[in-house]
Amino acid sequence: MRSRQWLAVLPAVGALSLGVAACGSSSSSDNSTSGGGGSSVSATLNGAGSTFAAPIYQQFGSELKDKGLTINYQSVGSGAGVAQFTAGTVDFGASDPALEDTEVTAAKKKGDPVHFPVAFGAITVSYNLDGVKSGLKLDGKTIANIYLGKVTTWNDPEIASQNPGIKLPSSKITVVHRSDESGTTKGFTGFLQAYNPEWKSKVGSDKTVKWPTGTGAKGNEGVAAAVKQTSGSIGYVEQAYALQNNFTTADVKNKSGKYVAPSLESTSAAGEGITVPSDLRFSVVDSPAPAAYPISSQTFVLVYKDLCKAGMSQSKAEGMVSFLNYIYGDGQKILVQLSYAPLPGAIATKAKAQIAQEQCNGSPIAAS
């Protein structure tokens, strides 16, 4: 009878899909090709965090796929990255600012967190203004006043005085900021509070602040999208996003008084002259170097010192070490392609030395 066959089909389909699910293998490839500098380890690593550095990890993931390492990266913001790292739902976290002391204490429940700096990037002040090219000169005080809602039109005297000769429209400024917990926000507000006391007292600097005005967007991607779609808007995005979308960016006044445009050189320059503690929890925001772009930021990969105790298997731990080696090896070349500045030699050496200290249940991990 037809209905009988119907009744048999449904559970069969169900069983079939369960079978497919159960017997399926995961997507990590079993055969790893040996290429130059490639690892012979095959593993899947899950990471989450900084949208500032998302292009880096996503590009790394694409490069490493043929070499056996699958990197799944969720671009959810430094705050969520730190939260997931601490909760243990990812293998590595990605955060632009180093962990604060309270965050270190929270993370210690699973083990000792280790900071691996990856690159420097520039937080551009991008704007979408018809007829105004790149290079609008702004200083920290003005940018803060824009974000405070005190400077509301583009032809405000505060902006015009720094830009004689540029015809500024009288349209309103649409401010775009982050709606999620963001390392980029922390870097940006860290810069703002150094130059605007009202900002410092009213808003402060953190991964998320109480924004006096403006639209909230999710991730660097979201801010970039909002700036792109809204005429007359201003937003802070990492340089890679600004370049990809052909944004016009502002020249920002640095600590030495020069107006500097965001570029690979000025971002690298930010790494000069900063103090680097032994646990590598440093910050390059508002760097004192004369050629530095002032709103530069570093970005870290966070892992635990004892990977296996934190929940990884032996093979995954080896994959992690392999990934870290890649970051300080061939990975640094990818950074330049993406317009992030590679690490200065001294910091890179210190970071590489940390890799050797990674352990699996107390014993060191074979580097590959």
Binding site: V76, Q84, T86, D180, K207, K210, T215, G216, A217, Q229
Partner: protein, 341 residues
Amino acid sequence: MAAASVSTRSDDRLGFGRSSLSRLPDKALRWGLTVLAAAILLLILFFFIRLYIESRPVFSKFGVFGFTFDNNWDVSHSIYGALPLLVGTLITAATALIIGVPVAIAAALFVTELCPGRLRPPLTIMIDLLAAVPSVVYGLWGVFVLIPRLKPAEQWFTDTFHFIPFIGGAAVAGPNYFIGGLILAIMIVPIVSAISREVIATVPADHKEAALALGATRWEMIRMAVLPYSRAGITGAAMLGLGRAIGETIAVTLVVGNAPTIGKHLFDQGYTLAAVIANEFGEAANNPTHRAALIAAGLVLFVLTLVINAAARYFVVRGSRGRRIGASDAATAGAAAGLGG
């Protein structure tokens, strides 16, 4: 006849001599299904209890009223007052109702009373298709089509009516309460319309014919015979739409602006309870108070939709008195059950 004395107990067979072993599958089926139903009940209770327990830390810190009615959602300082979210939810939902319900009722009336018979099935299908579009697709369309296209019109509107408080005199931001409400209106039209249609169809034909026989025009017949009779049911339909609008997450979070303040104008950015959960859950993974705050927001949402849906059901049942629900309602029930996204 044996039939007259056959007992109505399902697994009792008089006069057919079945062994207790052969009655085992019957017992197994009965108890299996009963356990299943009881398990569902327990699951829902567990759901509610778990949500409540997880949200306790924030209630103990701020109090139930403090959490719900304080106007300060400040994650950086760990202060969680959900009033901006609540207000945002209500503003978008109210906008959705004001725009969506009249349109839905008009469509329902047109389809059942006024349109030619041949047009009825295609129109019905098309209105129901609005419910088939996933909310993320509405969000996508809202961000890239609605927001840029409507911005000039919104600016014109607020400039022209600058003397009306709340509506006039605003600087239109891209995403705002209004666009959120508009998208919600589009999403609730199919549900409100489907249920209104069912309710209007229960109006006894003799009421309508009596009005027509007395010389009423079509519209007068609708006004005198159909609307009063189906008022309760339509109210219920509108409330179900409200419930849907309150719980909708994804489409709203893409177009409402995500600003945790109470906007002064309809065209300001805002935030809703559902959107805040979607946006902030990832960061709350390790912060117990923040997590509790988001779960509490979910609980408030849950309780709100519960109350509204209970009231809605009461109205709909009152409005469809006496009519047995037909099989086509399997499809309607599916559509009507569509909530949230």
